[in-house]
């Protein structure tokens, strides 16, 4: 007899997501903000996997797979942007890039 604890996993996902969001808002450092973004994505992934199990098909896990692909692409582009930002403004703080241009 198995029990399904998806609700707890989804709840965990919600908490992690909220922490990620708060971090994104609070932290000035662009790289840390970026890490918070990864936190949020992972939180979503947990919810996907948990509910995929609950629903009984693999669609959720496939979604996680694509989220990972997107996260990889995002990491590449995001870090490149951080480097470009640093090169132009000599800072990694998002609060210094407030003029919508370099």
């Amino acid at each position: 007899m198995n029990y399904d604890y998806s609700a707890y996993y989804v709840l965990l996902s919600l908490v992690l997501f909220t922490i990620g969001t708060v971090g994104f808002i609070v932290r000035k450092n662009a790289i840390v903000a970026f890490m918070c973004l990864e936190l949020m994505l992972n939180a979503a992934n947990i919810a996907f996997v948990a509910l995929s199990r609950r629903v009984g098909n693999l669609d959720g896990e496939i979604a996680v797979f694509f989220v990972m692909a997107v996260a990889a692409a995002e990491a590449a582009v995001g870090l490149a942007i951080v480097i470009a930002l640093f090169r132009n403004l000599e800072t990694t703080e998002s609060s210094d890039a407030m003029e919508l241009r370099l």
Binding site: T21, V26, A97
Partner: protein
């Protein structure tokens, strides 16, 4: 009805010419005049070709019958069948059942108008080459002139009222452009504006008439309208309203009381313009319109009475003002107003063909007079005051001679052209009571007034001739005869003024027009003695004119000193401009000022500025949220999302 290609070409040439002239003028200003004249001449040639086609179409038999009818007295002209050439270019638009085609139609009336417009137009183009030779912007002038010709041809060729209206507005526009041609002079530009605005009043009435026709008859095509009017059940009040609206439109364009004030001011334009637009062609558009809509006016005797009243009044008032003008062009301008009154008298009496006949002869001698005056002005270095002229006959024999012939023609002396048309007008007026009971009551009074106007006409043109060409030179310039391009049109027009009367003798003008408009009885020709007797008003006027301004110059001076108030009133143009200023312009200005200061500046500007201020203030507040900080946006977005989710669950 038969389609005709040459017909479609007639207005094409001036249109192309107008564009071409402007283009050519960029490289050679002298060539521009010749291009414009060439376009005009081509248009005239094609008019002649089309005219021949129409004569063939009308057919030899009916023509001969008509010619035979001219010899036998009292042969009705109404029996003739309406025939016309057509050039349907395209369907302009269609709204439900109501459609308008862009259609040219060429019938006997149009033929006459077209020949006059293109013929005199060509002569005046030729004249302008000499007259405008030293003007810097003559390509523009010729371009406008060709454009005018195009619009005027649209007006007379239009097969329905809407095409006619396009031409009607087009000539108004060209008139405005050409009156204000020397637009650097503020007064001249103002004259153009005045002409435009006054014409708008008439045009508004014209449009109302069009709408009434569309509403009640559902068509604007002349042939269809004529058929619709033949057995219409419309009330007389409606018909009278439509007719009067058309007449108001005509008073604007043809300078009748109360809308005649723009024409004297229009003399600000170059003199060829005055000759072409403000004497020969455009101002006669109202007469043409009346003749064209004869089937409407024939049904409304009451409207015709008003037409005649206005026309008689205009004729006598304008003639009396012309008596004392010293500006040579002003004399001719008021003369034109007066002569247009004569035409409307004829039209109002139902003798449309007489109106058109006078239109044609008037076009000849008045164009000649204007061109002659232009020649004089050109010679005297743009001096227009006749008191600074005199004795010019010796130095300008051609101009003097042609001016003299036209003087006699407009005076109505047999056997010059003016006699024939004027005599017919008086005759039509004295018989008008037979067909129109309203007119019958006032027949005698009207006849007396119009005869007085005829005497005055003869007097003031003789006065202008005597002051300009007789006596000794009083000015300071060195007058000289004008170049040949100016003399040729003068001579041609003088010959036409001289012989224009035969139009109704050898060439059966009346019967020709009878193909289109009712012409009533054909009168048998009268004996020479009777004709000379009938031209007595002309003789009286010319005699007094010569007497007062050559032999007895003290008489007019004595008259001026004994009747100073009268002279003042006439010099002041009967203070009509001042009256309009006080009654119409000043209150309108006051109202406009009130609306400007009160409504526009307070309410409208207040709304606009208030809106802007609200946006400004709210922007100042809201801009604080746009810090450019990524984290602040994220915070707001997060808060918004949470709020929305909370809202969703709360629901």
């Amino acid at each position: 009805m038969e389609n005709s290609l040459t017909l479609a070409c007639i207005p094409l040439f001036p249109l192309v010419g107008a564009l071409l002239t402007y283009g050519v003028g960029k490289s050679s200003k002298d060539l521009a005049g010749w291009v414009a004249t060439g376009a005009s001449l081509l248009s005239f040639i094609f008019t002649l070709l089309t005219f021949q086609q129409l004569r063939a179409l009308v057919g030899a038999h009916s023509y001969e019958v008509a010619a035979a009818g001219a010899h036998g007295a009292h042969h009705g002209g109404e029996a003739q069948v309406y025939r016309a050439l057509e050039a349907p270019l395209f369907e302009w638009f269609r709204i439900g059942d109501f459609g308008v085609d862009f259609l040219f139609r060429f019938d006997s009336l149009t033929a006459v108008m077209c020949l006059v417009v293109t013929g005199i137009g060509t002569l005046i183009h030729l004249y302008s080459i000499g007259y405008m030779a030293e003007d810097e912007s003559r390509p523009r002038f010729f371009s406008y002139l060709n454009l005018f010709l195009f619009s005027m041809l649209l007006l007379v060729l239009g097969g329905n009222l809407l095409v006619l209206f396009v031409g009607w507005e087009g000539v108004g526009l060209c008139s405005y452009l050409l009156i204000g041609f020397w637009h650097k002079n503020i007064a001249f530009a103002g004259a153009g504006r005045k002409a435009f605005v006054v014409n708008r009043i008439g045009d508004a009435a014209f449009l109302i008439a069009l709408f009434l026709l569309i509403q009640h008859f559902g068509t604007l095509d002349f042939v269809a309208l004529k058929a619709a009017f033949e057995n219409t059940l419309a009330s007389e009040a409606l018909l009278t309203a439509i007719a009067l609206c058309f007449f108001i439109g005509a008073t604007g364009k043809s300078a009748q009381i109360p809308l005649f004030v723009w024409l004297p001011d229009a003399m600000a334009g170059p003199t060829p313009v005055s000759a072409l637009i403000h004497a020969a062609t455009m101002v006669t558009a109202g007469v043409y319109l009346t003749a064209r809509m004869h089937f409407l006016f024939d049904l409304t005797p009451y409207a015709l009475l008003i037409v005649v009243c206005i026309a008689v009044l205009t004729a006598i008032v304008a003639a009396s003002i012309a008596l004392v003008q010293n500006d040579i062009k002003k004399v001719l301008a008021y003369s034109t107003v007066s002569q247009l009154g004569f035409m409307f008298v004829a039209a109002g009496c139902g003798a449309y063909w007489v109106a058109v006949f006078h239109l044609v002869t008037h076009a000849f001698f008045k164009a000649c007079l204007f061109l002659g005056s232009g020649s004089v002005i050109h010679a005297c270095h743009h001096e227009q005051d006749m008191r600074e002229m005199g004795g010019l006959l010796k130095v300008m024999p051609w101009t003097g001679l042609t001016y003299g012939i036209s003087t006699l023609a407009i005076a109505g002396i047999f056997p010059l052209s003016g006699y024939f048309s004027k005599h017919h007008i008086v005759e039509a007026l004295s018989h008008s009571g037979e067909t129109n009971p309203y007119l019958g009551t006032y027949e005698a009074a009207f006849t007396a007034v119009i005869t007085a106007a005829a005497i005055m006409t003869a007097f003031y043109v003789t006065r202008s001739f005597a002051m300009t060409f007789l006596g000794s030179y009083r000015g300071h310039a060195h007058p000289h005869e004008s170049p040949v391009t100016m003399v040729i049109p003068l001579v041609v027009l003088a010959l036409l003024a001289l012989g224009g009367g035969v139009l109704n003798g050898m060439v059966p003008f009346q019967l020709w027009l009878g193909h289109t408009i009712p012409v009533g009885h054909v009168h048998s020709s009268e004996s020479i003695g009777a004709a000379l007797l009938h031209s007595w008003p002309g003789f009286v006027g010319v005699a007094f004119g010569l007497l007062f301004y050559t032999v007895l110059p003290q008489v007019p001076k004595a008259l001026a000193t004994t009747l100073p108030w009268m002279l003042g009133a006439l010099r002041g143009k009967l203070y009509i401009d001042e009256l309009y200023g006080a009654v119409i312009v000043r209150p309108l200005e006051g109202m406009a000022r009130m609306l400007w200061k009160g409504v526009d500046q307070r309410v409208v500007d207040g709304c606009v500025n208030g809106t802007a201020a609200i946006v400004d203030v709210s922007g100042e507040v809201v801009r604080n949220t746009a810090t450019g900080q990524l984290r602040h946006y994220a915070l707001l977005m997060f808060a918004g999302t949470v709020f929305l989710i909370a809202f969703y669950f709360a629901m």
